[in-house]
Symmetry: C2
């Protein structure tokens, strides 16, 4: 029975290259949610007072993490294909909101700090261009609606 069981388990695993799912559940009488994707630690999500109680990430902060990690992943994947050595990578994102509703981001600034002995500023600009134009799905979904800028520094 074991091989069959194993096979069955594998068949029920989601193919994340095609479809992804996530869920949230309300935890209190304000706006505190538990966010969850199978196999991961839950994420505490909330809004600022008075509507929420600051008990977790806001929706817009999750969007900043989504964009930063998407850009970071595309960028690192390309740099490694170019045989570059990466010893550290930190990205900070700052989103500035519109004053009127919908209070979405007008602009998002990404500050990339890369440690690499053999990556030049030209290399980084090249892979960021590829990410923006083709390989970063989150960037693609924000295009036309949010102005995204990137500032980077490289420690060799």
């Amino acid at each position: 029975m074991k091989p069959f069981f194993k096979k069955k388990i594998m068949n029920t695993e989601p193919d994340k290259s095609k479809e992804l799912t996530a869920s949230i559940s309300l935890l209190n009488d304000k706006l505190h949610f538990k966010g969850k994707v199978d196999g991961n630690q839950p994420i505490s999500i909330d809004y600022t007072p008075p509507l929420g109680d600051n008990l977790g990430y806001t929706s817009l902060e999750l969007l900043l993490l989504s964009l930063s990690s998407c850009v970071g992943s595309a960028m690192l994947t390309f740099l490694r294909k170019m045989q570059k050595t990466i010893t550290a990578c930190d990205i900070s994102a700052k989103g500035t909101r519109r004053e009127e509703h919908p209070t979405c981001f007008k602009t998002i600034a990404l500050y990339i700090n890369l440690s690499s002995p053999d990556t030049t500023s030209e290399d980084l600009n090249k892979v960021l261009k590829l990410s923006e134009e083709t390989y970063c799905p989150v960037w693609a979904m924000l295009k036309g609606n949010v102005e995204i800028s990137v500032i980077h520094s490289i420690n060799s």
Copy 2:
């Protein structure tokens, strides 16, 4: 000195209605990141094998959580303004990716399950329309790039 100190602390708190920040740091030699916003538990972010090791949320799953919680927050805020009683709220999101690069979501389906003794389907449609058109910033940032649909059920 105490009042001055308190005032100083308050002045350094970020005004999230205007600007939000988040950061990620690479944790290994693949695509595992630690995501962070001050005051919150870090979020483990990773990609699927072979590029990543499935050690955390993918960027696209974070986007689904961002959208779900944004829609949920706008919807609940309006229903409460209408004096509705909400006893539970669960939202699942399913995003279907494009097959070509950028492999962003073609469509996102939100399944809203609300428990309320006094909310009608008409009420819910009304607040969802307001959220889509004006009050949900994440929805606004995806508009024109992703087709978002909502299916809901109400348990009275």
